[in-house]
Symmetry: C2
DNA sequence: TTTTTAACTTTATAGTGTAAAGTAATTAAG
DNA sequence: CTTAATTACTTTACACTATAAAGTTAAAAA
């Protein structure tokens, strides 16, 4: 890589668009689940789908709610409290944006696959 | 979603394969950069490509090295110390695995796109 | 009426990302 | 020739945050 290349591509791999709130594994898990169920999912369903503990799920849902990515509906189902979580419109858009960025990461990686197949050397370059 | 569905898909969205070490944004950035340059990148090149500060890059490189995902070569270039970072074979494989999981996230998300296009309702479901 | 279960929420803690400060070695300035 | 500045990092301290353990409320069972 020569200096003029650097100039052109500074920040090329910074992945700015990878929104921290969505990128966190547990929350990505939650959002991706909700993305598949536009009618929403119950607390316990999410817990199972995402393999999260109660406290953990509760905290992450609170964070997602605060960011207006998810909305919660509290009700009762046979005399038991039930919480339904759903993506907001905003959350849906932000997730789609996030995924667009992810696609770039995947695309970048395909380059690696090609290079390794073409038998590139693994020696350090000389000074 | 009915209970038998839950049974079948518990952990469906847990994304276990999203290795924490690689998933972290700054490190994903570093690894994706290195993936594009099999001959390795210099400290300052990485700094630019990933828009990281010195300290930040240094720490993350140390973590990646400890995990045997990246290897470092210390040398000098016109009397200045230079550090060259490169993906290890192990790192390359782990990154490819990681990307495979990412592809699943992207695939999951395409479902959302389809649903939103088919005009699904946004009302909470009745108890 | 006491205990247990269900469905969460709150809190304490351990872990981690980040930038500021520190180090060492070279070059430039006075 | 001594001091200041630059380069190329590394170390440290702090602020943040993910997580699970403990706590809460209410219904159901014993």
């Amino acid at each position: 890589m020569n200096p003029s290349d650097l100039e052109k591509t500074a920040g090329r791999y910074a992945y700015d668009g990878l929104d921290r709130i969505i990128h966190e594994k547990a929350r990505l898990s939650i959002i991706a689940s909700l993305a598949g169920y536009s009618e929403g999912l119950l607390f316990n369903e999410l817990k199972e789908l995402c393999s999260l503990t109660d406290g953990n799920l509760s905290r992450h849902l609170a964070i997602l709610q605060e960011a207006d990515l998810v909305q919660m509906w509290k009700g009762t189902r046979n005399k038991r409290p039930q919480t339904l979580a759903r993506l907001t419109e905003h959350g849906r858009r932000r997730f789609l944006e996030y995924v667009t960025r992810l696609e770039r990461v995947v695309a970048d990686a395909s380059q690696l696959t090609r290079q390794s197949e073409s038998g590139a050397t693994l020696r350090p370059r000389t000074a």
